[in-house]
């Protein structure tokens, strides 16, 4: 989303990240690293407008980014019927299945209607892209 591409937004995220890292500087083990990731995700999502950011903030006691690598997509390539765009088509079984998978991936979207899941996903993807870009550039800054 355009919001995540503004430099101001990135700056805000950077400040939050720095504060979160400062606050969580104790310990260097694996879980703490993930916690740092979660904190920066929290810092990122503190805008509070989207559902997934609220789910991260107010969710279970350990807000962690869900890494659903196990949610495999059943691909039946030989039997793939020609997919039509959903012009007048009711949601097929495959589409519904993928929507369910997607709602599991995005935090806080478990029981949402399809439109909300899609909008939350869009926001989430934009936020993640910004975050990955920032982390990459930080990595470069230190690697030089």
């Amino acid at each position: 989303m355009s919001k995540w591409q503004s430099s101001k937004q990135q700056w805000i995220y950077g400040r939050r990240l720095i504060e979160a890292l400062r606050a969580a500087r104790s310990g260097r083990t694996g879980p703490c690293v993930i916690k740092k990731a979660a904190d920066s995700a929290l810092a990122l999502s503190v805008r509070g407008q989207s559902r997934w950011s609220r789910a991260i903030l107010f969710g279970p006691c350990k807000p962690k980014v869900k890494l659903k690598a196990c949610s495999r997509i059943p691909r039946h390539r030989p039997f793939l019927s020609p997919g039509k765009l959903a012009g007048a088509q009711m949601k097929g079984r495959k589409v519904r299945g993928r929507l369910r998978v997607l709602s599991r991936l995005v935090p806080g979207c478990k029981k949402l209607p399809a439109a909300s899941v899609l909008s939350e996903t869009a926001d989430y993807v934009a936020a993640l892209q910004m975050r990955v870009g920032l982390a990459l550039s930080q990595h470069y800054a230190r690697a030089c």
């Binding site: 740092k36 495959k94 989430y124 993807v125």
Partner: protein, 380 residues
């Protein structure tokens, strides 16, 4: 907060500030729950420049001028800050002038509102959440009442528009000319008493309330799918909802893994960095570093300003170099990150589409680079 809101609404680009008001309101509620003042400062600092607006509305496939026009319309209704408590506030512009012929242009916007207003349901339904919950409940029970409030309303509107649409020559949704709407208006002046969202039936389609509601819902979903397709690289060529969703799922998983790996690497490299000087350094130099790829010389040069703040910095710099050599994350993680980095270097050297202005972490080049990098990764 009231004067700040109204001043924000009055000055400059009213379209974007209307949505900022919404953001202010939502942030306030979250503040009351979280009791974090820093957010407020951050938002205050960002409000004069925020041109992004509410995320869903800006990318519903409307042109920016149309979106601004729509938001400009919302401005009189939202300047009082009513958007949160009143989901009907978005319909005020429709009802503010009861006679249609004088506001033929209003109808055009009203038809656009059919997508826009429907999209407003979820942000507003979700905006009810912070005010209601204690933080443990899922947002769904809270957002359901606003949604269910809106739905019978919209169905009632559909019935009203049915009569108008059957009586008129069928016109395409959203593109009806002012003339047609002008013809329709004197026949049904009662439609405007209540805030309605008008959906035009297309030629040859059923016009009962259920199918209209379904069609509106489908249009909403298709609009969001298109939005997602634009966001995820490589999805524009794919036709078919299921395959596009496949790509989106893959992309989300990829991004999550990248985030995990990168944050682990960064945390491994920097065990105890003092960040007081680091943010200055990053803000000043990172853009140029990622673009030009200079060696450690620039770091030494810019350290002079930084060293005043933190004495550990140059020592830590050596620590970084040592750590980079020593701490190697094993196996595939390292390979994957190296691939990421190599792609990024390759693309940032060749990318030219970065928008003007320096952002904090040189993200402008990274933003254009990153979709390409992930696309390369997916193509590999």
């Amino acid at each position: 907060m009231e004067p700040a809101r109204c001043s924000g609404a009055g000055s400059g680009n009213s379209g974007t500030y209307a949505t900022e008001i919404t953001e202010t309101l939502r942030l306030e509620e979250i503040e009351s729950l979280m009791d974090v003042n820093v957010i407020h400062q951050g938002f205050e600092g960002s409000s004069p420049e925020n041109a992004g607006g509410s995320s869903f509305t800006a990318l519903l496939g409307l042109h920016p001028s149309q979106a601004v026009e729509l938001l400009h319309e919302l401005d009189p209704s939202s300047s009082g800050g009513f958007r949160l408590g009143d989901p009907k506030a978005i319909h005020f512009p429709l009802s503010c002038s009861p006679t249609f012929p004088s506001n033929a242009a209003l109808i055009e916007r009203a038809t656009r509102f059919s997508v826009f207003a429907a999209a407003e349901e979820s942000p507003e339904g979700s905006s009810a959440f912070p005010s209601n919950s204690d933080g443990d409940h899922s947002p769904n029970p809270k957002s359901d009442p606003p949604d269910s409030d809106l739905k019978p309303q919209r169905l009632a509107k559909r019935k009203e528009t049915d009569k108008s649409s059957k009586a008129k020559t069928p016109s395409k949704k959203g593109k009806s000319t002012a003339g047609d709407d002008g013809e329709g208006s004197p026949a049904n002046p009662d439609d405007d008493k209540l805030p309605y969202v008008h959906v035009r039936a297309r030629r040859g389609q059923a016009t009962d309330s259920h199918s209209l509601a379904e069609r509106a819902r489908r249009e909403k979903i298709n609009a969001r799918m298109k939005l997602l397709q634009e966001l995820v690289p490589g999805c524009s060529k794919i036709s078919g909802t299921a395959l596009v969703l496949d790509e989106i799922i893959n992309h989300v998983q990829l991004l999550q893994r990248q985030v995990e790996i990168l944050s682990m690497r960064l945390a491994a490299v920097n065990p105890r960095i003092d960040f007081t000087g680091l943010d200055n350094l990053l803000s000043a130099e990172c853009g140029r570093v990622t673009a030009s790829g200079h060696g450690p010389g620039w770091v030494d040069g810019s350290c002079n300003g930084v060293i005043r703040r933190s004495h550990h910095y140059d020592n830590q710099q050596q620590i970084w170099h040592v750590d980079l050599q020593q701490q190697e994350t094993a196996g595939w993680e390292r390979d994957e990150t190296q691939q990421l980095l190599h792609h990024h270097v390759f693309i940032s050297g060749s990318s030219s589409g970065s928008p003007p202005g320096t952002s904090l972490f040189g993200y402008d080049s990274a933003a254009s680079a990153l979709p390409l990098s992930t696309q390369l990764k997916s193509e590999m």
